[in-house]
Amino acid sequence: MLLARVLDERMANLYRGGKIHGGVFMGRGQEALSAAVGTCLRPGDVFAPLIRDTAGRLAFGEPVLDAVRTYLGSPLGPMRGRDGNVHRGRPREGMLAMISHLGAMIAAVNGMLFARRLKGITGTVGVACVGDGATSTGAFHEALNQAAIEHLPLVAVIANNQYAYSTPNARQFACRDLEDKALGYGITGHTVDGTDLNACLDVIGDAIRRARDGQGPQLVVARLLRLCGHGEHDDAGYVDPKLRASNVGRDCLKVAERFLLDQGWATPQTVAQWWETTSHQVDEAIATAQREGGPDPYKESWCAISSKHLCEGYDEVCDTHLG
């Protein structure tokens, strides 16, 4: 969680400093839920994160360098400068590389789980995280229904951060609670306070356990608030101050810190030291990635398929772009 917060903020700083093109999407306020997902998954499971899942990725095992290299477009990162920021992944290792179209990754998780069943592999699960906004997509619906029909070990986690970009829940859906959708798919629903790490660990842990046990798809809805803009370009001026002041507006990191302090499991000094070590770790990764520079367009293969012999020869014309 801490690492994710620091990493996100450093990326945001680099963006503001013009070192990152495109956008930076932060998980501020969503780290507890996200970390709980990453923590409850095991190696060999499948994870399709949403754009604010730095914490979950790290907990699932994504190296800090993968994140930094992808943001900076290093040719040594998993996306080699071809795709950026939150689109990173290592699909073969169970970490999907998202496309931007919301809802599209869930069916791919289904496919991985379906393939494993065909191959006779048992005991693994897949988590697909989406936002409140993504629940309005046809892709979300088709994939949840598909998982239910196939009785796949899918856990769909909805981080209901009250807004999709600027659009509030009231303009996104009209059901009382997103958990109500579970019944319509014939799957089990769960709700959790997304600002409370312990609660998240409990509920996500339970949902994942059930899926692993063969109880079919699970839907977890977490209530929380995005404590930042949609991307780093957005000041989130549209967020209702009442929500900020309410329980969903709590900073999950502070809640977790307080818990640790209250339990006597950490002192303010240890916490401060954590921050420092973490900052240092991120700084090192940034330094490494920055040293690596960007990809070299002359060395790119510019072939979008793996069957190289079937690549079309546009090269002659295209090479002219490089003058």
Partner: protein
């Protein structure tokens, strides 16, 4: 033994299922029912658990194939009609097509699209979308015109480590017959001289091949020798074979069943114009369907798409110039 184009497609799938445990078939009504056109007839029985009925969810159907391919499987997807691939369009062009380039994970998916017009099928059961998919990087687009190609190209499609859009033509399903299944075949990516000639080239593919061959017959009776090139694959497109043919004949008519703006025929003409202008003795021409949805009534349908009759008229015009 005699075999239809449709049976060849079924046999290719049976063989793929038999020879490779990573292959499975997923699509609406493909299991017990054997598919809307019976292209998967009995396969669910022969390969239990590997031929699976899907809900009416093209987006999730293709999405599932993407995930399964990541896990090393080789799914064959049957879309009930090519026209319905538009609801799975995003997963095809943005997910399946980009995964290898973005992540280095090869994505062997075959998407079977029963394509093309048949009498009375109307605007939403007649479309030919090869040009649409060919514009996207990351996809291979095949358009078999013969029973032999339906078989061998489908087998090769399943073996290819990339997403393949397999456009099978419904009009050829039942009436096109071959005596036996081929044991060898041209590889994907190579066009074929379906008929040699020296006076002009008709470059075409899929069902239009047979219209073009009929025209070649007709004009041969008048002493004109038309060379007919069957593209077989529209992406990649075998420019070399096209150029060689145009070099021989100096005249080009490119015929397709799709709408007239862009698509395969525009791509062929553009390549010939930019790379083989000197080879041309007359302006190259295209013949496509009309720029409206595919009409329902047989009268209108017959006028909407190119036919041997309209191809012959166009060919004569090219020959005259």
């Amino acid at each position: 033994m005699s075999l239809t184009y449709l049976e060849a497609i079924r046999e290719a799938q049976a063989r793929a299922l038999k020879e490779d445990p990573r292959v499975f078939i997923y699509g609406q009504d493909v299991a017990a029912f054997g598919g809307a056109f019976k292209a998967t007839k009995n396969l669910a029985l022969e390969f239990p658990g590997r031929v699976v009925d899907a809900p009416i969810s093209e987006d999730a159907i293709v999405g599932l194939a993407v995930g399964a391919a990541i896990e090393g499987m080789r799914p064959i997807i049957e879309i009930q009609f090519a026209d319905f691939s538009t609801t799975g369009f995003n997963q095809i062009v943005n997910h399946a097509a980009t995964t290898f380039w973005r992540t280095s994970v090869p994505l062997p998916i075959t998407i079977r699209l029963p394509s093309g017009g048949t009498s009375g099928s109307g605007p939403f059961h007649s479309q030919t979308l090869e040009g649409l998919y060919a514009t996207y990087p990351g996809l291979i687009v095949l358009t078999p015109a013969t029973v032999e190609d339906a078989y061998s190209m489908l087998l090769e499609a399943v073996a290819i480590d990339d997403p393949v859009i397999f456009c099978e033509h419904k009009l050829l399903y039942y009436h096109l017959k071959a005596d036996s299944l081929p044991t060898e075949a041209l590889p994907v990516g190579k066009a074929r001289i379906a008929r040699a000639g020296r006076d002009m080239s008709i470059v075409t593919y899929s069902a239009m091949l047979h219209e073009a061959l009929a025209v070649a017959d007709e004009l041969a009776a008048e002493g004109t020798e038309i060379e007919v090139v069957d593209l077989r694959s529209v992406k990649p497109l075998d420019t070399d074979t096209i150029m060689a043919s145009v070099a021989r004949t100096g005249r080009l008519l490119c015929v397709g069943e799709s709408w007239p703006w862009g698509g395969v025929t525009a791509e062929v003409l553009a390549r010939v114009a930019s790379e083989g202008l000197d080879l041309l003795d007359a302006p190259p021409q295209r013949l496509n369907a009309k720029d409206t949805p595919v009409p329902y009534h047989p009268n209108l349908w017959a006028a909407h798409r190119p036919t041997a009759r309209s191809i012959a008229t166009a060919a004569r015009r090219v020959l005259r110039t």
